[in-house]
Amino acid sequence: MTMPPLKHILEAALLAAGDALSLEHMQSLFPDTDRPDKPRLRAALLELQQDYLDRGLDVVEVASGWRIQVASGMVPWLSRLWEEKPVRYSRALLETLAVIAYRQPVTRGEIEEVRGVSISTTIMRTLQDRGWVRVIGHRDVPGRPAMFGTTRAFLDHFNLKSLDQLPSLGELRDLNELHPELDLGFPDTADAAGPDSPARESTDG
């Protein structure tokens, strides 16, 4: 069996998988005697990326590997492909997900503390059913509440390679930065305050 060009094998494999494949998984497709090393795989994937430049396809690396996807520029042409509109997530769900993504590991109590409302079980279940969030341990406090974290599937879904590709969180400012005259008649306390007030607070749920 003569071997087709590496990039075509990878293309076929990625399209057949319809999902991201890790480099290791791609390597495993080949017999031991003829297994391309990772730099070769990367090179072939970049070649494919080049081939796709003027087409509606993308080869991208996300958390769990490489995948081929229809580029977002094509989406307007595909909007009528599906009967249903893409799922829109509620703010409650997105906020919960954001707190988990940025503060993981985090307990449900801590999420509620940040959001100021109790979190419905449905939301936690949806996030877990979608495979975006999972229990990654238990906080060593009374009740041993579960701590949640995000998964690779979460990163994959949002087209991210790793958590540090998430947009950065906004800054926390200090109350004491404030001009004294805006205060309601309180003396200026700016000098008394430490420079970095802690953003992170440990609260048990």
Binding site: Q69, A71, V75, P86, L97, A98, A101, G116, L160, L166
Partner: protein, 277 residues
């Protein structure tokens, strides 16, 4: 909490506020919120929808602050408290299911307000002295994640902005006439069953003597001419190697006598047996 309730009737909850025509940064769902209920007199159904767009007391407070372009660090507690109470009152009057968090926040606001109205002892000068500090911290903290949630929502994501590309993998094409069932194939099937029989061998229920003839009768009874029976089902691994051999011989004999017919679709595919009509 009872402190403020008499003060803020719904009608006057946000009286005379100077509202911008549109509220910067405030969105209801995807749409920027164009206008507010200035006097809170809006149809109850609409108000319910309006209030449901808030993700709790922090969200509502942030909204009240933002719509007046106020700095979060400089909340005019008295005014905000009054407005907040106004909304809470309306929610109660409409008997909307009011989450307990809203009432807790009402209490917190009332407490801050009352503390700020009290004369302060001059010696208290540390950074905790401003009773708003904790509220401001929570509001800021919440706002960060609220914005982060919006950022998250604007990331390109699968199923909405991106679609995984999938090609079908066809089955290996298959068409063409079936080969005759060869003895080799038969042996392979036997080997298959024998292998399984090995797993049962330690049971050795009984080493009953099985004659080939007996087994032939039994086999024939298992079959009819209308339906195919899996060849392997005629060999019972639990009888052990010996039983399988007897069963196999019985089948060979039945074939020789043209009482059975075997069908196999392709090499290594399961073999089926049927009684000749």
């Amino acid at each position: 909490m009872t402190v403020e309730q008499g003060e803020a009737r719904p009608e006057e909850a946000v009286p005379g506020e100077e509202l911008p025509a549109t509220v910067p940064g405030v969105r209801v769902g995807k749409e920027p919120l164009r206008e507010l209920p200035r006097d809170l007199y809006i149809p109850p159904d609409a108000l319910e929808v309006f209030l449901e767009t808030f993700e709790g007391p922090l969200d509502l407070l942030l909204y009240l602050i933002r719509r007046q372009n106020l700095d979060i660090l400089d909340i005019p507690i008295a005014a905000i408290t009054r407005q907040y109470m106004g909304y809470v009152e309306v929610m109660k009057e409409l008997r909307l299911e009011l989450a307990a968090e809203y009432l807790v926040m009402a209490a917190v606001l009332a407490e801050i307000k009352s503390r700020m109205l009290l004369p302060r002892p001059p010696q208290v000068e540390d950074e905790e002295s401003d009773p708003r500090a904790e509220l401001v911290r929570r509001l800021q903290e919440y706002e960060r994640y609220k914005n982060a949630a919006e950022d998250l929502d604007s990331l390109p994501r699968l199923g909405r902005d991106l679609h995984p590309a999938t090609a079908i993998v066809p089955e290996v094409p298959r068409e063409s006439p079936a080969p005759d069932v060869s003895l080799d194939d038969l042996l392979m099937a036997l080997a298959d069953v024998m292998a399984r029989a090995e797993m049962f061998s330690h049971h050795h229920v009984q080493r009953e003597v099985l004659s080939v003839r007996e087994r032939m009768s039994w086999t024939l009874q298992q079959l009819n001419s209308e339906h195919f029976t899996a060849f392997s089902s005629l060999l019972r691994p639990e009888e052990g190697r010996r039983g399988v051999v007897v069963g196999f011989l019985a089948i060979l004999e039945l074939i020789r006598e043209s009482l059975l017919e075997l069908v196999q679709a392709e090499p290594f595919a399961p073999i089926y047996v049927r009684a000749r009509a």
